[in-house]
């Protein structure tokens, strides 16, 4: 059932245009580890065989499993830092890539005054300023655990951007992860429309 919801989350992101060219990856907690999308799969035709089960150390729990997404270590780091997270979505949308490059120098995109902020759990009014930190891109995604840990100490956050690479967000349930994803993508698109 979790795996069905995970595939559904990935497909919903795909139809919105956020995972072109096999980009994006998605995971959820499972007993003893996580399920994560396999490396290099077309998110438009994802099936159960495109998911890999990893233990908490990132080792495959099944023989002959295809390689997990190269960003699985970052997913594991997020689950370690956020014990409540049940599912993680990483999208590679136009808005998140463009804004992550534009605001890289300032280290964050600030989102304030939007009613949509209330779709982020714990936010109860549009009079809120959400800081979406931007981390430098790296080919060693597990190293992003460190700046993420620092960011989490400073502010409660609901997601982060990686420069030129896209958005990571999560939720304590699939519903929450999906809602955070749509809310953050919407807010980033607003920002892009506001200053194109």
């Amino acid at each position: 059932v979790s795996q069905d919801r995970l595939l559904e989350l990935a497909r919903a992101a795909h139809v919105r245009g956020w995972t072109w060219a096999t980009s994006g990856n998605f995971s959820c907690r499972m007993p003893g580890g996580i399920a994560v999308t396999a490396s290099g799969r077309d998110k438009g035709r994802l099936g159960p065989a495109d998911l890999v089960l990893l233990d908490d150390g990132g080792l495959p729990l099944e023989r002959n499993a295809p390689p997990a997404s190269a960003e699985a270590p970052l997913h594991l780091a997020i689950y370690r830092l956020l014990p409540g997270a049940a599912a993680i979505a990483h999208t590679h949308s136009l808005a998140s890539v463009v804004l992550s490059r534009r605001h890289a120098a300032s280290g964050a995109v600030e989102l304030a005054g939007y009613e949509m902020l209330k779709a982020l759990s714990g936010v109860t009014t549009h009079e809120h300023s959400e800081r979406v930190p931007i981390f430098a891109n790296t080919q060693r995604p597990e190293t992003l655990g460190e700046p993420l840990a620092r960011a989490l100490k400073e502010h409660p956050i609901h997601g982060f951007l990686v420069e030129g690479h896209g958005l990571y967000t999560w939720g304590r349930s699939f519903d929450e992860a999906g809602r955070h994803l749509e809310a953050l993508e919407f807010l980033l698109e607003c920002r892009l429309k506001e200053s194109p």
Copy 2:
């Protein structure tokens, strides 16, 4: 049948991308009250169980009903002010959110010279200027009844914007509500394209 049309109206808005992250809400008059979408539902998978029946005072007509949208009181206020309204759509589109923020200081978006204005009931020529008022956002949506009452005294209007929050529109039938929704969203998108 009304409920089917209400679900159809909500789904049509969803496929256009105007109700991401459980945003947006929709209602119609029923004998003795209104039917309104329940709070926090994904408009992409809305069914009859996601509608709540309220009496004219906003109290649920059925036991164990899920909570109605937090904006149901604003829907009720609109029905009180507009006795002819049969259905109301509130969308949370990019264009309505962006323009409502940009024009908040002037209190309205003016739309003039577009043939599409004729899709608004009572408008018979493109030589018309439609004033779409913008109200400040609030977490007590029922308080918007007051500025709406004032706006209705000044001009005939077909909808209004809430700053950073989106569009409200209505119709004397589902067809009219749906047409007003598409027409106003189209006109707002034109405005956004004209000065991005």
Copy 3:
């Protein structure tokens, strides 16, 4: 069969987002007259009952027919001026509305250097400049026959814009009409992207 193709042409335009809020109208020649979409129909759920048969003078050929589109007289004027036209599409797209307003003062949009121009019948090279005339909008659409006749004498054209109102195009077959429609909409979108 012609009616099936006409419905198909209208639906294809609708799914592209060019006929929101019952806008747009479509017609084809029939023995003794034309078939045209009825007034005020949602192009997203168009069926055979939404077409009206008119004689060459614009009178309905069937009893109890719903009223034809208010722009049927302009369709008839186009068929009179262009004896080879078999089908006409009028779309109400964002790009055509926005550009028709922006370039209204100059009376035309010029499109040059695009390979897509070759989708317009008779154009054999991208080294072509296509003039798309823009006529002032009017609530008496039949009066546009006159400026159209003048425009046709000056240049071969494949379509025209009406200010704030959209695009008219046609073809000697349904295939050609559909191709001209997609080509002109594409070219207008290019122009809009090139100078937003």
Copy 4:
């Protein structure tokens, strides 16, 4: 089977809006030649009868075959220059047409710093600068083999633009061709969003 994958590649491009008005063409290697889309076909309703088999010299391998795309000679030139290419996609997207015109004078679009570059085979880091050359448009597409041969000597490339005409890309498999197509279109859309 190859033909099914070719039709799938073309349809996937069509639903993204990259082949309006019968534009775009697609091919794959076959024993003794290539299969290529026939001239002037609507990519939205492409079937096996819309493919033509050509020998390596460009002559049809089947009697009564419809004429191949006028750009088939360019496809053949690409296969000669790139012995590893198994499939070629030529799309006519807004982003590729607009950017090919904007950057025509400089002869290329440079794409750097994007994680999406890693979707291009052989690119292993976002710290890569991809040069997408732009060739002048011509009504004799086979003549583009010459500037392409020069470009291939200078840099490894994964695709090229033709001014006002669109994108050509390829892959050693259908999966790779499809991934290169989505990656390059994504990167071009990013560029267009970054400087509209």
